[in-house]
Subunit: 398 residues, 2 copies
């Protein structure tokens, strides 16, 4: 635990109390044990790994308390986020009930969710244990899902979190610049991806999604589209090169795509079919950006970008325009996605200030390859701030 | 997924069916989603990471089926452990219900447990989703905890698993030999631990428990006892050096302790107080070994070793004699531990053939330091096979 990590957790715990007030919930209880084997995803935001049964209590009134096996208690004290840390030797039950008696919460949010995996860290066995503790108390009937709280705590980035994503994005952009110097026609997807992975590994960085599929590299029209591992397809002149790269730096992720065109011999300008596709994809991202502001449901942002694609005569992309980015490449439920069955519910969730979203979409250029852009943007009170330097023109390889 | 990892999972899935027959359970259902964020610990034994809602079904009659989002289905097919893999695009519900209709299980074990974290991979949100699917079917009332199944599947090591622990143990013993050449009086705990960590890192190995506490090094009588990070205490002549090291190699762990005595100037034999302590600790491990065979409850094994310590006039150790080792350093619930409240239930569980246990205990030698040994042993049908070369005499540093 570095000092900066402790500051981050202090920020998130303070933020949680503000969110409880906004959502009118009295208490958020994170109940966990042996999290190295069975983690609760919220602990990376508001706690540390624990061994014995442990409770992190955050109240609407501003109480921040932890009840922890004596073995792990100093780790929690060092966070500086929980002024009251109770350590125990024998069992947590009496200490937890005493805290509830003291706090008298009318509502107690716990970490389960059917729709949001990041809010579903409470195991069913732990739920049963908690249920047993609360049997014959008034608190059993006051349990509720913490999914709205967790979505807000994870989704609304603090100053430290925004800075970390910004750094991961800057590192990723530098890697795009490096690989541009490396790439030559005749190289395979595997060679190109391997160069980037070599640099990521050398720099001691992590991957925002599993390394076998990171970066994704498509070379021309013969590559598989989507989450495929880089293969033996070779980059040819007159083709498009697309790269989708996400790194993890200091615990936070980037997720960006960049596009290059490989000039044919003697060619000095991008051919019209390629340029038009770039302009349409870029225009769709700008259309999404224009619709993106706090309070708008995700599907409306997607609809703006999607309409731009369809209106320009291209087939619509079969995925969502954007997802949250942060601790993970898919960092919480809200999507900027169409009202399809697979996005039911989560595309209705409103965009919030402090969210960081991807904006990403593609079209296929016949005989050239995939034209796909992806930017990372922060939602501000007024609209959008780009964390990436947006790609406003095709890059090229000679 | 290497070929050898696939073989391992094939072994475990086959073993699970045998265990279902023994325990008289019709079906074991592992229900999971987005396991990279919210893992189920059983999947490292019987599956792979999945994204969308997924089900792994293992029946008493030998059916091995998986229902997986189409994206991940090929990863499951490549395992070769599930002859029937159904991939889906829209939702898992109808496919899961169809499988239950086909298999007609009278009992369905799912992954929750209050006492065993390794059997508690089902989140409460997933439980609620499953509950919703099974509402209005006869299967809802047939759900039960899979904790006994999972304890057996994790605890009874297959041939491949035993071989991997054996390799991790051999590597650890080689590291003890290396560090013995490195250590000199005057070095600090930190220097000694740092040397070992440097070698572990160079060899690309993992740690069986977190690196800051691995290895644990105690130098003489002034070191903290237990899970403390190595500090500035210096190894002096006439003192004991103890090291507790566990590595992870190919996904499997070792957990061993070794003891050295540092000769004083001119000393050529181990002093009597030190030798007596070694003999008593070694004798207690042998006493535990003699009691260790399939069917014996864990507490009886501990009691045999504990009695040897107490009968020889030393205070008893305040922990369990042994725990399971495998995927993790604490690899499942069963302990060879006393009938204390903190081991309630789990010290009553019987030892089984195929278990791998540590045997570990210590006494304090006044003015010398901690005398502590730890071996890793496999339970066979007849008794015990040492995976480590047991330490039968004190090692020394001149």
């Amino acid at each position: 635990m570095t000092q900066l990590d402790a500051v981050l957790i202090q920020e998130k715990v303070a933020q949680a109390t503000a969110i409880l007030n906004q959502l009118d919930v009295d208490l958020w209880l994170t109940f966990a044990r042996e999290t190295s084997m069975n983690p609760d995803p919220v602990l990376e935001l508001i706690g540390v790994d624990v061994t014995w049964h442990s409770a992190f209590l955050i109240s609407r009134a501003g109480a921040h308390e932890a009840i922890i096996g004596y073995y792990d208690a100093d780790n929690v004290r060092e966070l500086g986020a929980y002024p009251t840390v109770t350590d125990y030797h024998e069992g947590i039950r009496e200490h937890l009930l005493a805290a509830l008696e003291r706090l008298q919460p009318r509502t107690i949010a716990i970490n389960y969710s059917e729709s949001d995996v990041s809010a579903d860290g409470l195991s069913h066995g732990l739920y049963r244990t908690l249920h047993g503790y609360l049997q014959d108390t008034p608190y059993l009937d006051r349990l509720m899902s913490a999914e709205q709280i967790i979505a807000a705590v994870r989704g609304r980035k603090s100053a430290t979190e925004i800075e970390r994503v910004r750094q991961a994005v800057a590192t990723t952009e530098a890697l795009f610049d490096e690989v541009e110097q490396f790439v030559r026609p005749g190289m395979s997807q595997r060679q190109i991806a391997g160069y980037v992975q070599g640099r990521v590994d050398e720099m001691g960085l992590g991957y925002a999604w599993p390394r076998p599929f990171n970066p994704i590299v498509t070379c021309g029209p013969h590559s598989a589209v989507g989450h495929a591992a880089p293969g033996d397809v070779v980059l040819e002149r007159g083709h498009l090169l697309q790269m989708d790269l996400g790194i993890r730096q200091n615990g936070y992720c980037s997720d960006l795509q960049r596009m290059w065109y490989v000039f044919k011999e003697g060619e000095t300008a991008v051919p019209p079919d390629v340029q038009e596709a770039f302009d349409v994809v870029y225009g769709a991202i700008k259309a999404g950006e224009a619709a993106l502001r706090p309070g708008v449901p995700g599907w409306q942002v997607d609809a703006a970008a999607r309409a731009h694609i369809v209106d320009n005569g291209y087939p619509e992309y079969m995925h969502a325009l954007g997802h949250l980015v942060g601790r993970s490449a898919h960092d919480g439920a809200t999507v900027l996605g169409p009202r399809w069955e697979r996005y039911a519910g989560i595309c209705e969730l409103p965009v919030e200030a402090g969210n960081i979203f991807t904006l990403e979409l593609h079209v296929i250029v016949p005989d050239r390859g995939m034209m796909s852009l992806e930017e990372d943007v922060l939602i501000t009170e007024d609209g959008v701030e780009y964390l990436s330097r947006p790609q406003t023109a095709l890059r090229h390889i000679s």
